[in-house]
Amino acid sequence: MDTLINLAHGFGTVFQPLNLLFLFVGLVLGLLVAVLPGLTLVMGVVLALPFTYGMGVIPAVILLTAMYVSGTYGGAFTSILFRIPGEPIDVPLLWDGYPMARAGEPALALGWTLFAALAGGLVAAIAMVFLSGPVAVIALSLSTPEYFAVILLGLSSVVALGGSSLPKALISLALGLLFSSVGTDPTYGELRFDFGIPMLSDGIEYLLVMVGAYGLGEVLTRMEQRSKSVSVSSVGDIRTKLPSLSALMDVKSSLFRGSFVGFLVGVIPGAGATIASFVSYGLESQYGKRRRQLGTGIPEGIVAPQSAATASVGGAMVPLLTMGIPGSGATAIIMAAFMLQGVQPGPHVFFKSGDIVYAVFASVFVGVIGMCLIGYFAIKLLVRVLAFPEAITSAFVVMFCFMGAMASRSTVGDLWVIVSFGILGYLFERFRFPIAPMVLGAILGPLAETSFMTTMISFSNDWTVFFTRPVSGAIMALVVLALIYPTISDWMARRRQARRVQRT
């Protein structure tokens, strides 16, 4: 009952004119970045972050959450209509959404996407509200060894699920953690890795790591690829046609499976909307009623990935708001928005500042409905954005990144730092190192170090405590499992393939 009352208060907060305005702006921006060539969802959320400096914590988080929610939906338009996925999230939509559009039903394909995003987003939002309380209660009972183990589990699953090259992901994570250790040590006050440069003695702001690596790095990568501009001459006829009620009933199992899988995948750190969308499509191909027809343009092939992608947002909010563990690039930026306002998300904030948490919850509900309304009525305008020259977007993205750097401490010195991270981000893309572990390492590094050092001091430097206490020991076992899972899974798949080849 308390949960529902708190949620009602949350809705009250979201419906305040200023918060509602930021929610609307966030939804439009999220849809735009998902469509605009040269911009990605995470990049868009990063670029919006500096604008939240002067806001309160609630409007700031509402703005970014709205961007995150609608960013999982906007790319569907271009995937279905032009076979151009706005984000990797939208790739599975190419396999049934685009064929349905080619078969003369583009409006219906867009209608299925809208329905899936709406239903998946709302189902996950309900699950998020009711699951968060119990998770926060558990999180509150954790002491420092357990908390360190939880952070480690979050970081290791990001490493394990981000990509299949484990050494590259580990290097990315280690670099992020190292960047966070630059400056004055929190326990002893000792200067570390400052190399006599005064600016480094204050540490490296995680904001610069994020904006540089995601923003400037991506621009440099796109400059190297020199993408071509897209023609959207046939925009005139675009509209959305909602499916009939009987057709909706036919896909209800795909919808529930997609929403459930999306939510669950969202909860796991490291596995965001993209993985949710692919896994849901994969499950549909195994357990769906019409699995043999997948790939020919059937609604299940649209509903499964889209419902999972939007549902993953609700899932990702659970570890962020209850434990302070962001599981993806976008949630890492939302966490950064909290921290810039002096709020450290986690169980204490969950119980002591429920107004903030429930406002975020309510913003997910309102955001899901709002994005569908905007998507329905403004689809022609949104799709036209696809023709905007990428070169102009790139130039302005660079300036927005610099603006973010200058606005944080007003020093030109920070510009050198951000450009350095931009170059590093570019090199990461060039040599196929994942960026997300580095960003998460930079954000969670201080938290991980503090809980590690506190444990060491409290338990007389006995490191075995992480393994001998039942809860932290169990979580550590999961850490090991997360790290060996990709290797074992890959090995098993190869064995299966070899057997198949032998048989034939």
Binding site: P50, G54, P85, P88, V91, P92, L94, W95, A160, L161, G163, S164, S165, P167, K168, L170, I171, A174, L177, L178, S181, T187, E190, R192, F193, F195, L216, L220, M223, E224, Q225, R226, S227, V265, A271, V279, Y281, G282, Q286, G295, A391, S394, V398, M399, F402, M406, A407, V412, L415, W416, V419, Y426, L427, M453, M456, S460, N461, P486, S489, A493
Partner: protein, 194 residues
């Protein structure tokens, strides 16, 4: 040819390895350090450095022993697309532009040079002129071919950013030196900023 390929794949890991070892020596020189029975400020960075060096060594070994580069797709995506029979499609679609056209690193280098140049000249040329030049340079190197329109967009963009910084974000911007300082002051007067 094969050795060259191994060296090419191992090079980034070798570089990381070198950086890791160097940082280890730096961590050894911290004034307070870990001693028997007491964790010092070097303990946490050294644990991370062990991870970094270990991962770099693993990468070098993998480059030397494996005949192919790993596919960078998440294992969950690989498994899902494999079961759906879309493994190859997914790889192509996820690669997107990167798979379509040839890579031209020279434009990325020009982009880097523009950004570094911007930071270097901004104290002398001031915000407005430097920003105009940066916007123009990025648009040009990113492939925008309408030069006059690019210059116009860069000029409007620089002015808009100047207004945003001065009137909305309230950040003090580099004013430049000599005539560039006069230009900045004139614009500030125009906007009513003291």
């Amino acid at each position: 040819m094969m050795i060259l390929d191994i060296v090419r794949r191992a090079a980034p890991f070798m570089m990381v390895l070198g950086v890791g070892v160097w940082l280890w020596t730096v961590a050894n020189d911290f004034a307070i350090s870990t001693t028997l029975g007491r964790a010092g400020p070097d303990l946490w960075p050294k644990i991370i450095l062990v991870l970094l060096i270990g991962a770099a060594l693993w990468g070098v070994l993998e480059a030397a022993l494996k005949s192919r580069s790993d596919d960078d797709t998440s294992i969950l995506i690989t498994n899902a697309t494999r079961s759906a029979g879309h493994e190859e499609d997914a790889r192509k679609d996820l690669e997107g532009d990167a798979a379509d056209g040839e890579k031209r690193p020279v434009f990325a280098m020009l982009g880097i040079a523009s950004m570094l140049g911007y930071v270097a000249v901004i104290p002398y040329l001031g915000f407005i002129v430097s920003t105009f030049l940066l916007l123009l340079a990025i648009m040009t190197f990113a492939g925008y071919e309408k030069r006059l329109r690019a210059a116009l967009i860069a000029a409007i963009g620089a002015f808009v950013f100047f207004i945003v910084f001065q009137r909305l974000v309230y950040v003090s911007l580099p004013m430049g030196a000599g005539p560039f300082r006069d230009l900045t002051l004139a614009l500030m007067a125009l906007l009513g900023v003291r």
